[in-house]
Symmetry: C2
Subunit: 342 residues, 2 copies
Amino acid sequence: MSSSKTKRQRRGVMQPTIAEVAIEAGVSAITVSRVLNSPDVVRPATRARVEAAIDKVGYVRNMLAGSLASASSRFIAVIVPSLSNIVFIEVINGLQSEFERQGYQILLANTDYDLDRECQLVRTFLGWSPSAMVVTGLRHNEACQRILSECDSPIAEIMELGDAIDLNVGLDHPEAGRCMARYLLGKGHRNIVYVAAQVARDYRAGLRYDGHREVLEASGQAAPLLDLDQLGQFETGARALDRVLADYPDASAIHFANDDLATGALLHAQRQGICVPETIAIAGFNGLPIGQHVTPRLTTITSPRYRIGRLAAEQVIARIEGRALANNRTDVGFELTIGESA
Amino acid sequence: MSSSKTKRQRRGVMQPTIAEVAIEAGVSAITVSRVLNSPDVVRPATRARVEAAIDKVGYVRNMLAGSLASASSRFIAVIVPSLSNIVFIEVINGLQSEFERQGYQILLANTDYDLDRECQLVRTFLGWSPSAMVVTGLRHNEACQRILSECDSPIAEIMELGDAIDLNVGLDHPEAGRCMARYLLGKGHRNIVYVAAQVARDYRAGLRYDGHREVLEASGQAAPLLDLDQLGQFETGARALDRVLADYPDASAIHFANDDLATGALLHAQRQGICVPETIAIAGFNGLPIGQHVTPRLTTITSPRYRIGRLAAEQVIARIEGRALANNRTDVGFELTIGESA
DNA sequence: ATTAATAATGGTAGCGCTAACATTTCGCTA
DNA sequence: TAGCGAAATGTTAGCGCTACCATTATTAAT
């Protein structure tokens, strides 16, 4: 009889483990592990026996234990500014398609365009030992920048091109702003107002404005900016149109920071019987589907959002697997989509 | 000298662990653990010392190890049919807002409306020992139904009301279909065509059709169904309008399965100069913002999507924490939003 | 001052898995 | 059929943390 020293109890979730599967199959635990992780190194007959045992005992794999033991979680931390913006959803779809195919699990969070929140999220996610991190944009607060730089797993900064910590997949926002400004000038527009929502937070809209202004000023024009403090939604765009018509009677075109604002303005114009582009021309950015279904169709710049996600994922996976990359920076470009609105 | 038996090497990620923090702070590892998990049971002076040590050694918490040891991951598995549909994004936003506040991390995946894929995802997620699972809808394939039923963590089935495995937060889809059908009948419409996209996959659209048909047949009318095999997007709605006008010349209204289709049709009508609702009335489902910005505004049924997410999260958390719930089923209801389109 | 209660902290033993190394078995050649 | 290299399988020792129980410090009560 064992003496009074009773064995300690441990909360038993009492799910079968590979040890039980191993006994059932008459093999060792590591062989079960191999069937799960690298089935081709196990002889087919053995594998079959193990697989039968897995079914028989109703084994459910414990990824937490595996990740801990192998020091590799197959988690990808993904941080975007907002989940309400379809643009980021498409990026996530692109990331997801590739990561899922390769057996990685995305950990998703949104910053609400707040860099301090971003930092907090990065810290939290690091606790899960992600295999890589995908963050939106190149601007981070000081602490966040330091953490990301010191991180030894791959980091992808997406959407925006420039000096990145590690991988970089995105487009040239100032150039997109220039592109649209040049187009509008080319169509003979003068007094073009740039309208954005919360430029301080959505600073990429600010980068596009910088490009826009550069072109306008080069042609000797002012580049008025209307920075709204509401969120960038339809309603905001509608109100912005009214304000521009009231405050800038000479304006012949509005360059909106995104298609949500532009579409809101366009639909509002329609309701109010304001002629677009005759009374005022309207241009957007992103190339959302809705823009091509309104009348007049929206003139905008189409960004390859899904592609950004897919490419970023591909490159991150390559980096994780130790494959060399031709280039750390990928310019996905953009396309001027000409509708009738401007 | 130790004999030839050399000590084995283990891959060293060489990140500081609580053991190093403990030495630095002159306490035991468990005290460091307590500072991280239940700071109020540690004396403030000790806590301060530990926190300083954490900063000094640059400790990053390893959640994987913690989850394994405590058999509690604080992961919530969330499975939705699609990430391209803004409806589910809003649900996710609702879930996220509540889960994040309570320190839970969402693991997200989409089924593409495929029940076999859903089953696969459930299996995969179970490997992460989630604290709970949130799945969309009440229909699952046999294996999935069994797995979910046998699962001992909380399961929330959302969007749809009915016989659920555990928690249930959603709305009554047949009743929503009836509601709109009654409204359309009340407006004097006859020959109302129900248009959906892939009813077999988006079976909740089918449930609404069932309600719709019930009301129409009760008033002695046929309830033609046009089931499109494209995805439910603007373009599909536009094409559907053409088909209805061609194939159902007597139709006076179209009851679309969702706002994407309805909006697509509405914008198409506008482009083509088809008068809505005079030539044909259009109704939708979901109450997306865009519907209230087009002219005529869309008559639709507004579903409280964000609220479904938030409530589901609240109830799941209550269940995880062992708090009793008044009711396992929550009907979030819906609202008829009357525009000028029908 | 002494005791009893409580608060704070610590020691030990895993959680379930896999890396590293060790051993056995197999397939093939001579 | 022995012998050899490769393939398959096994043994051991953690991964970094927390549950459990034990112990020590502190406070409250007499």
